[in-house]
């Protein structure tokens, strides 16, 4: 899930996580290494000798040995919990950056392993939910719905949760957590100032404008993050990422669905009731502590932004949740999504039985997902227990359980999971403009061009 990584990714920004440094240094070394080894065949599909086709793929000869698991630092407790519950399994837990922020660590490593023909981890956690777009064609991920994981388990995942994992009806990964966006707000303050919780974007905009006039310094949202388009544009059904096939995408960000949200953001950014800062920046913590009236954002904002001393440190009893506001005539209601990690199983694994056991346990077992997981579990039975735990903590000012359950099924399906990073494109194309005060509406054409360029470079057929 995105909580940990995003927290980690942004917080460690200037704390200069040594992993990043190592990564950057390694990058140069890797570039040399790749030139020095490998036979050039791209996207090899794991042809392993002494193997047989079973469960929908060619399996490697099974051997004994430690199960190699790659996780980000936030998911280390998950692997440790599995170890505790299965003391007989030999587990080799490797911590990596979880591919956060589109770092491509996993893809880089796998493409090298594909060249050398060995070295793949057995199970991997990734924070990037578009991982399957390259991992499936590269032959790295094993199909799970062809025998490895029973349908009874797969069917228990929340509706749509496995969409980022599915290629042509086959499931290639298990979702760790869901990250639908909703509207967080300060309940006592809304009441004190006499505002109704907005159900439409027009009401939301109006409150934003009034707050700017009457309570300057307070904000109703933030638009300075790489995932800003996933909060606002996704919820507005803006067709920026209409993945229609394995190598085709429809991009139309100058449509009215995008214009309306861009115009709303422009208004509130100009009024300064919408922050230009990243919610993970220390400047945001400093300026906005106690000043957030409302903030649209994913479920994991609670742990990563509000209820943490290294964030806004919002006291108990203030924070409440509501479904995202809607545009008139949008039925059914839609919302966006920011992240939600994945677990991948290597098709090259020589320890499939242990790997499948680990994968199933870590995504479905209550001991981790309901009791320890930092974000909303994708596995529905664990999710209801997790939600009950959250509510019982007494932190929230209203009952967030029905709100989250409702929004979890409302994520607009017109925004797909492609090989190219929408976050990175927005960050380099639109964010500098927002920073320097340019209107987002005026930047939509260049956003369109950038998405088209990156999608084309990644091998997609782009239609408009």
């Amino acid at each position: 899930m995105a909580l940990g990584i995003r927290a980690a990714r942004a917080r460690s920004r200037l704390r200069a996580s040594s992993a990043r440094v190592a990564f950057a240094v390694g990058a140069v070394a890797l570039a040399v290494t790749v030139a020095a080894c490998g036979n050039g065949s791209s996207s090899s599909s794991g042809s392993v000798s002494g193997a047989g086709a079973k469960d929908g793929f060619t399996q490697a000869a099974q051997t004994s040995g430690p199960l190699v698991v790659w996780v980000d630092s936030t998911r280390v407790p998950a692997a440790q919990a599995y170890q505790k519950a299965h003391p007989n399994v030999k587990l080799d837990i490797v911590t990596y950056d979880g591919d956060a922020n589109g770092s491509n660590t996993l893809q880089t490593k796998v493409s090298l392993y594909n060249r050398t023909g060995s070295g793949w981890p057995d199970v991997v956690f990734s924070a990037e939910n578009n991982e399957i777009a390259w991992a499936q064609p590269a032959g790295f991920t094993a199909p799970l719905s062809k025998g490895l994981i029973p349908d009874s388990v797969l069917n228990n995942f929340s509706p749509g949760a496995l969409a980022p994992c599915t290629v042509d009806g086959t499931v290639y990964c298990l979702r760790n957590d869901l990250a639908p966006t909703l509207l967080w707000y300060n309940a006592p303050l809304m009441k004190q100032w006499g505002y109704q919780v907005p159900t439409t974007w027009a009401q939301y905009e109006q409150i934003g404008q009034e707050v700017a006039r009457q309570h300057p310094g307070y904000i109703v949202g933030a638009a300075g993050d790489t995932f800003t388009p996933e909060i606002y544009m996704w919820a507005s059904q803006c067709q920026a990422n209409g993945i229609t096939g394995i190598r085709s995408v429809t991009v139309n960000v100058t449509s009215s669905d995008c214009q309306r949200m861009a115009a709303l953001l422009d208004t509130l950014l100009a009024d300064k009731s919408m922050s230009k800062l990243s919610v993970f920046s220390s400047a945001f913590d400093k300026q906005e502590q106690g000043k957030v009236l409302m903030m649209p954002g994913p479920v994991w904002y609670t742990g990563a932004i509000f209820n943490t001393t290294s964030g806004l440190n919002t006291p108990k009893g203030l924070l409440a949740a509501a479904p995202m506001p809607q545009w008139p005539g949008t039925t059914p209601a839609t919302t966006g999504n920011v992240g939600g990690g994945l677990w991948l199983l290597s098709a090259h694994s020589a320890h499939l039985a242990e790997a499948v056991s680990f994968l199933e346990w870590v995504t479905t077992n209550d001991a981790y997902q309901a009791d320890m997981a930092p974000g909303l579990p994708a596995y529905a039975p664990a999710a209801s227990k997790w939600l009950a735990n959250q509510q019982n903590s007494g932190y929230f000012a209203n009952n967030i359980v029905p709100v989250i359950q409702q929004t979890a099924g409302q994520v607009w399906q017109g925004w797909g999971y492609g090989k190219f990073s929408q976050e990175a494109i927005w960050a380099s194309t639109v964010t500098p403009g927002i920073t320097s005060g340019k209107a987002i509406v005026s930047m939509l054409p260049s956003w369109q061009t950038a998405i088209t360029n990156y999608a084309t470079a990644a091998g997609y057929q782009v239609s408009h």
Binding site: L14, V25, A27, G40, A138, L277, A427
Partner: protein, 303 residues
């Protein structure tokens, strides 16, 4: 190479230099082996990749043509063009000037201290010094925050606006790389024979004229040498933009340099052949520029 001889005395006389040569070979071997392993072999491999496709078939110039048509290609070369212009100009002018000033410092204690001061940033590993700059450039944590605010920059994103990047990278590179060169230039200045300086002084030349007519002309080869190496390093710009890109969560510095583009081709698009094509272009570019510098400056003239 060794003519056959029957004179035992002469043979003995020749054996000593041969032993010396052998020792020389042993000393050089360490370098030659590493050069072959990490320099020549990868280059040859890179050339092979650049002219073949994923199926190991000969493709002629197709990798070069296709990679040049990528939408990031021209921009990346423009970026390093601007960056190199700023950096090389700053390096040549400031390093020479600072070395001359350093050489004029009368008090030995101060001179030694200043040389040490210049050298410190160079002693930091490349990545560490870039990280240090990331702190410097973020108004919320920078010790120079008030200066950044004075310039009108309140947030990190404002500081690393796309139009600022070339100058920022040049600053970082100068800070990390110039100190070492200043010390080298200082050493070169010390090598200028004292009697020439003495003669100039007797002829009535002041510090300025000595610098202009004696010291700078005699430093020429060192300056050219610095420019060649600095160009090769600068053209391969990677760590600075990559780290800024990571630190700014992709706001600035992504796909900034040709080296980053090659890296993206190799690892995001799984296209090692395009990546190799760009690498070979950078190699050719650096060699061409070095050739121009060398011939224009009569670098290898013994006189």
């Amino acid at each position: 190479m060794t003519p056959v001889t029957t004179d035992p005395a002469r043979a003995r006389a020749r054996r000593a230099p041969w032993r010396a040569v052998r020792a020389g070979h042993a000393f050089v071997a360490g370098y030659v082996i590493l050069l072959a392993a990490f320099g020549i072999v990868p280059v040859v491999y890179g050339i092979y990749f650049a002219f073949t496709n994923a199926g190991n078939r000969w493709t002629g110039l197709s990798n070069f043509i296709q990679s040049a048509q990528d939408f990031r290609y021209v921009a990346a070369f423009e970026h390093i063009g601007v960056y190199l212009t700023i950096w090389l100009a700053a390096l040549v002018v400031l390093v020479t000037a600072l070395a001359l000033v350093l050489h004029q410092l009368p008090v030995w204690g101060i001179s030694g201290f200043v040389r040490f001061l210049y050298y410190i940033p160079g002693a930091l590993a490349g990545v560490a010094s870039v990280l240090l700059w990331l702190f410097m450039l973020d108004p919320s944590v920078s010790p120079a925050a008030s200066f950044l605010h004075l310039l009108g920059y309140g947030t990190f994103s404002q500081v690393i606006a796309p139009s600022h990047l070339a100058i920022l990278f040049a600053m970082i590179a100068f800070w990390t790389g110039a100190g070492g060169w200043i010390v080298v230039m200082y050493g070169a200045l010390n090598n200028i024979p004292l009697d020439i300086m003495e003669a100039a002084r007797i002829d009535g030349a002041g510090a300025w004229r000595i610098a202009r007519y004696i010291q700078i002309p005699m430093l020429r080869k060192w300056i050219v040498y610095m420019a060649i190496l600095a160009f090769a390093v600068g053209a391969q710009l990677f760590v600075e933009p990559q780290l800024v890109s990571e630190a700014s969560l992709g706001v600035g510095g992504r796909d900034y340099s040709p080296n980053q583009l090659a890296y993206d081709f190799a690892f995001q698009n799984n296209n090692v052949n395009y990546a190799a094509a760009i690498s070979i272009e950078l190699l050719v570019l650096s060699l061409a520029v070095a050739a121009v510098f060398v011939t224009r400056s009569r670098f290898f003239d013994a006189s």
